[in-house]
């Protein structure tokens, strides 16, 4: 496995910038009663562009950095982000969707799963408090707000990673059409 130093620098830059922005600025911007969460969007975008293994590794790195920055249990955020990066990457590798709005759906599902996974890890680590139903409202609002940022952030991260990617994310692709049906001897009009 070869590691391109420029790709490493780009991904590191995206991860550090995203985590810093999230905890120092964007996370406290309240819109419609909810908050943006840039971290799952960035990990989903990197995994979508680069694949499952880079997605999982980036998720791990982002999670560790986040935990170290906020002084939380180291590894608690890494677990959901590894899973997020891996499964978004696998989705891209297996299905290779070509629709222009796929990032919106990917971000919506990723954010929802990420937030549920964060809650699950919090319970796993011994959460001892009552849970308000407003958690569900927050989850829905964050999913909605993140979906609004999906296309611009996927574009931005795609542009940043573009020189290091095997497949150019900006080349317009079309899903291969279904093969034209033909007869057993491969000539149209002579089907049996």
């Amino acid at each position: 496995m070869k590691t391109d130093p420029s790709a490493l620098v780009r991904v590191t830059g995206i991860v550090v910038a995203t985590v810093l922005l999230q905890v120092s600025g964007v996370g406290s911007i309240e819109l419609l009663g909810g908050n943006f969460d840039l971290i799952p969007i960035a990990i989903a975008a990197i995994a979508y562009c680069a694949g499952s293994v880079p997605g999982a590794v980036t998720g791990f790195a982002a999670g560790i950095l986040l935990d170290l920055m906020v002084g939380r249990e180291v590894g608690a955020s890494a677990l959901p982000l590894i899973a997020l990066g891996y499964f978004v990457g696998r989705y891209r590798e297996l299905r290779d969707p070509a629709h222009g709005l796929t990032p919106v759906a990917v971000v919506a599902v990723s954010t929802a799963i990420y937030l549920v996974a964060v809650a699950a890890v919090a319970f796993m680590l011994g959460l001892d408090a009552l849970i308000s139903l407003l958690v569900v409202r927050d989850l829905i609002l964050t999913v909605f707000l993140n979906s609004l940022l999906a296309l611009p952030l996927f574009w931005l991260i795609g542009r940043t990673l573009r020189p290091s990617l095997h497949i150019d994310p900006f080349v317009r692709r079309r899903r291969r059409g279904r093969p034209i049906e033909s007869g057993p001897i491969g000539l149209r009009g002579l089907e049996v």
Binding site: S28, D37, V53, A56, G63, G71, E73, A129, L130, L134
Partner: protein, 293 residues
């Protein structure tokens, strides 16, 4: 075919390796305890190294935060206008009563020769700090401030805002500190409901920072909506938090006697808006005396 299998094996091995590493890190972190260790030291180092950048980013985003906050507040304020008029009238009456009570208290203080002042604990040497990092999820309510050990900030010191109790310091570096808010799931604050002085434990509801709960209030006790809740000055042995007596926490919004058999559960709204804190004060010295309320 063999290459394909190798790719799959390698991918799965990397995934398993990352998960195992995360779990090991978590285990090691818990193993270190609160006294610190390698991971705590690394965390402190990262916080110290990044704090200037975090402060810069936080300042850059402040106008955006203020704008979105202003929009939200304006929408909310329109609906609260009538409610606030009624509250102002009620507060005027309370003010008059408080002034009488304050004069009486002054006379009593003189008689008892007590060294007390109204408001926050005296001689607590408060250090004002800017919030440079906000909690990333509702499941953890911690903030980072730009004052640390060099300013006299230490673990377990109380943190307040202009409106009331915010939380306590749970970790420090030379130039920064982590503050666990009273809305964090791990928080528990011994409190008294005034004026009757009923004692209970204030605990949060995860996901709703505007609604705290006071548990362990006797079922027969009468509590009025609008009663003030303050720190009681004693610590819960389980959580080892220690706040000086008399720091305002919030106001009673609802009492639900049916929720528990032996105790009633009191809902309070915190005085401090813990989602929009820009500055806090850390009480860096133990007060010479309790406050007068």
């Amino acid at each position: 075919m063999r290459d394909g299998r190798n790719v799959i094996r390698r991918r799965r091995a990397i995934l398993a390796g990352l998960i195992v590493t995360s779990v090991l890190l978590l285990t090691a972190y818990f193993g270190e305890g609160s006294d610190g260790g390698v991971l705590h030291s690394i965390s402190s180092g990262v916080q110290t190294a990044l704090s200037p950048i975090e402060e810069g980013v936080s300042r850059v985003f402040k106008p955006v935060r203020d704008f979105t906050s202003w929009v939200g507040d304006t929408i909310t304020a329109t609906g609260q206008n009538d409610e606030l008029r009624a509250e102002v009238a009620s507060l005027r009456e309370q003010l008059a009563a408080s002034e009488v009570a304050a004069r009486d208290a002054g006379q009593l203080r003189e008689i008892a020769k007590l060294d007390r002042e109204s408001g926050y604990p005296v001689e607590s040497n408060p250090v004002t700090a800017r919030v440079i990092l906000q909690p990333p999820t509702v499941w953890y309510s911690t903030i980072q401030i730009d004052k640390g050990e060099s300013a006299g900030v230490e673990v377990d010191q109380p943190v307040v805002t202009a409106a009331g109790l915010a939380g306590k310091v749970t970790a420090t570096t030379g130039s920064t500190a982590i503050v666990t808010l009273i809305t964090d799931a791990s928080s528990a604050v011994s409190a008294q409901i005034m004026p009757k002085g009923l004692r209970g434990i204030v605990k949060p509801q995860v996901g709703d920072p505007d609604d705290l709960l006071v548990d362990f209030i006797e079922k027969d006790a009468t509590i009025e909506e609008g009663d003030t809740v303050v720190t009681s000055g004693s610590s819960s042995s389980r959580f080892e938090s220690l706040f000086p007596r008399g720091i305002p926490i919030g106001e009673v919004t609802d009492v639900d006697p049916a929720e528990q058999d032996l105790y009633q559960r009191v809902h309070i709204e915190p005085n401090a808006d813990l989602r929009k804190i820009d500055f806090v004060r850390v009480l860096t010295a133990e007060p010479a005396d309790e406050v007068g309320v």
